[in-house]
């Protein structure tokens, strides 16, 4: 350990010395985009396309939740309600006012962001379990309010939400919809990556660890709490809108209960709280596990319970944590080898 740690300073210096090659920064994104562009060809039927869409929408949700919970450390249970707000807002814009999807999506996203920032206000004073309770209360009231509002379809559901129209053609096939969801998900991951690697992300982490010390370092704690809630709500709103317009264009408050929230939390915990790729990895894995266990619905809850317990027991930092450890180890080994060669 001592050896390795002594070399770390050299490594940082070496990194800083390297020129900021465009390829170094952007190549992974280009590769990722290319990969996602071609991914549907690796699947066998439309159901797989549908599952890919579900995964990507969950990725957007989980990445957003990871920002507010994993990085900023705000224990919110209201993230799914934000998705509901985004979904219903988008549905209302499109179905009641005839706004095309391409406008309804950003409008719903912004609207949800605004609501999210307002929801963030209790976080000024509340922390931990108290904040969880407050957000849970808000989330449940959103669901119940939708369930009794006839304008929103109440308990029967909001039907006939128009699909996106692309050059006069409605996008109803899952594979076509994939090419709307995928770029948004990729952009979402990219933005979260940029945000979290910047000073904003560092400030989030600082207020998660110690808001008093963060304030003493000049971080406006309230502003950054609000920002975290706002950003995560933007993600949830975008995902909600995508849920609303996906065929068959139907929404129901039953799809936005605490169970969905727990599943979402599981994604982030499994992927790694506060790990940049955590939400992405977790969303993909949990969605696939959920689908694979569909046939064993009697045991599904038990399987998920077991997965949660095992995750918490054996990898408390999630898969992202394992990756971090592996990367750190590799780095030390490489540096040590380089030093040995030099000597």
């Amino acid at each position: 350990m001592e050896d390795a740690s002594i070399s770390a300073g050299d490594a940082v210096r070496r990194d800083l010395g390297a020129r900021p090659l465009w390829s170094r920064l952007h190549l992974p994104w280009v590769a990722g985009a290319l990969f996602l562009l071609l991914l549907p060809w690796a699947t066998r039927n439309a159901y797989h396309h549908y599952i890919l869409n579900l995964i990507l929408i969950n990725v957007i949700l989980a990445v957003g939740l990871n920002i507010v919970k994993g990085f900023a450390g705000q224990v919110t249970v209201g993230h799914y309600a934000m998705a509901a707000i985004g979904a219903y807002a988008s549905a209302v814009f499109a179905a009641k006012f005839g706004v095309p999807f391409w406008l309804a999506l950003p409008a719903a996203t912004l609207f949800t962001g605004l609501v999210g920032a307002i929801v963030g206000i209790p976080a000024f004073r509340l922390e931990g379990a108290y904040l969880a309770l407050a957000t849970l209360g808000l989330a449940e009231s959103v669901r119940i309010a939708i369930g009794v509002t006839d304008y929103l379809g109440a308990a029967v559901g909001f039907s006939d939400i128009p699909p996106p129209v692309f050059f006069g053609r409605p996008v109803v096939d899952h594979i076509a919809y994939y090419y709307i969801v995928m770029p948004l998900a990729l952009a979402g991951i990219y933005f979260s990556f940029c945000i979290l690697r910047s000073d904003i992300g560092r400030s989030f982490k600082a207020l998660r660890e110690d808001s008093l010390a963060a304030a003493a370092c000049g971080i406006n704690v309230r502003k950054y709490k609000l920002l975290a809630f706002l950003i995560s709500a933007l993600y949830a709103g975008c995902a909600g809108s995508l849920q609303a317009h996906m065929a068959p264009g139907f929404l129901h408050p039953n799809s936005y209960t605490i169970t969905e929230m727990v599943t979402l939390l599981l994604m982030v915990v499994m992927g790694g709280l506060g790990h940049i790729w955590g939400g992405v990895i977790g969303a993909a894995i949990v969605t696939v596990i959920y689908d694979l266990t569909r046939d064993y619905y009697q045991y599904q809850m038990a399987i998920f319970g077991m997965v949660i317990v095992l995750t918490v027991m054996f990898m408390p930092r999630g898969i992202g944590g394992l990756i971090d450890d592996y990367l750190a180890k590799r780095r030390f080994v490489a540096i040590r080898r380089a030093k040995a060669n030099a000597a």
Partner: protein, 266 residues
């Protein structure tokens, strides 16, 4: 005067922690604040740095601006950096990140640029890291840059806390018991670091300290508190002969010889 505190009071319920305190700190001096446990030293820091709000009537003026009642981060942004008695470094973040957090008030790019990941952000980040690595070299923690701060030893943590405060490029640095729990060797190391930093950046420093050696050796002026009140102020040499100070510390009268022996020992 860089910092001018007048009539500052703070009560916690019935307990008076700081009472009608006046304090003036010249630009460029090193001020020591001593006093027995519970004499209000840390409360004074918390009042100045905005963690606590003072009772009405108190005034804090920093560099000509009245900062009474400002929130913590605003005060920090105006150039007052502090360390905490319990350090409060960010243990889950790397050593380098801890310093970068300190640098937060001076980050130049905005939220939109950060979100889009524009080239200017990466350039700025690179510059920041370069600068922080230099500071890290100054406090002697270069080789620990990527280590989570939680894995550092107590001495290294104290240095890191100092480094984080320095990263803020403050005009006034307030150190709350920076040498507590350190071995004599490390105390010397820390002291020399503080002095070097002061020289290099032209700082004004306020130190709360229990270890008298630190105060006596490095401070220009020493202020002594007891029960939230200032009982003495002056050069270290004058202070250490002040009987009220000795009384406050030891609770009884002592002869000069005894005091000298005590001071030598500590």
């Amino acid at each position: 005067m860089l910092l001018e505190v007048t009539g500052l009071s703070k009560r916690f319920g019935g307990l008076v922690a700081v009472s009608k305190l006046d304090l003036s700190i010249r630009e460029g001096e090193i001020r020591g604040i001593i006093g027995p446990n519970g004499s209000g030293k840390s409360t004074l820091f918390n009042l100045i740095s905005g963690v606590y709000q003072a009772e009405p009537g108190g005034r804090i003026v920093f560099a000509g601006e009245d900062i009474t009642g400002y929130p913590s981060h605003e005060i920090a942004r105006r150039g007052i950096a502090r360390t905490f008695q319990l350090l409060r470094i960010f243990t889950q973040m790397s050593v380098l990140e801890n310093l970068l957090i300190g640098y937060h008030p001076h980050v130049r790019y905005g939220s939109a640029a950060a979100t889009l990941g524009s080239a200017s952000v990466w350039t700025e980040e690179r510059r920041l890291k370069d600068e922080m690595m230099e500071l890290l070299g100054f406090i002697g923690l270069t080789d620990y840059a990527e280590i989570p701060a939680g894995e550092l030893s107590i001495g290294q943590r104290r240095l890191l806390a100092l480094g984080r405060a320095m990263a803020m490029r403050p005009k006034l640095l307030m150190l709350d018991e920076p040498a507590a729990g350190l071995s004599p060797v490390n105390v010397d190391k820390l002291l020399s670091t503080v002095l070097a930093l002061k020289q290099r950046y032209g700082l004004t420093v306020v130190i709360i300290e229990h270890i008298l050696k630190v105060v006596m050796e490095s401070c220009d002026t020493v202020t002594v508190l007891e029960h939230g009140e200032k009982i003495a102020e002056g050069a270290p040499a004058a202070i250490k002969d002040d009987h009220r100070v000795i009384e406050a510390y030891l609770g009884k009268e002592m002869g000069d010889a005894e005091v000298r022996a005590f001071l030598k020992a500590s």
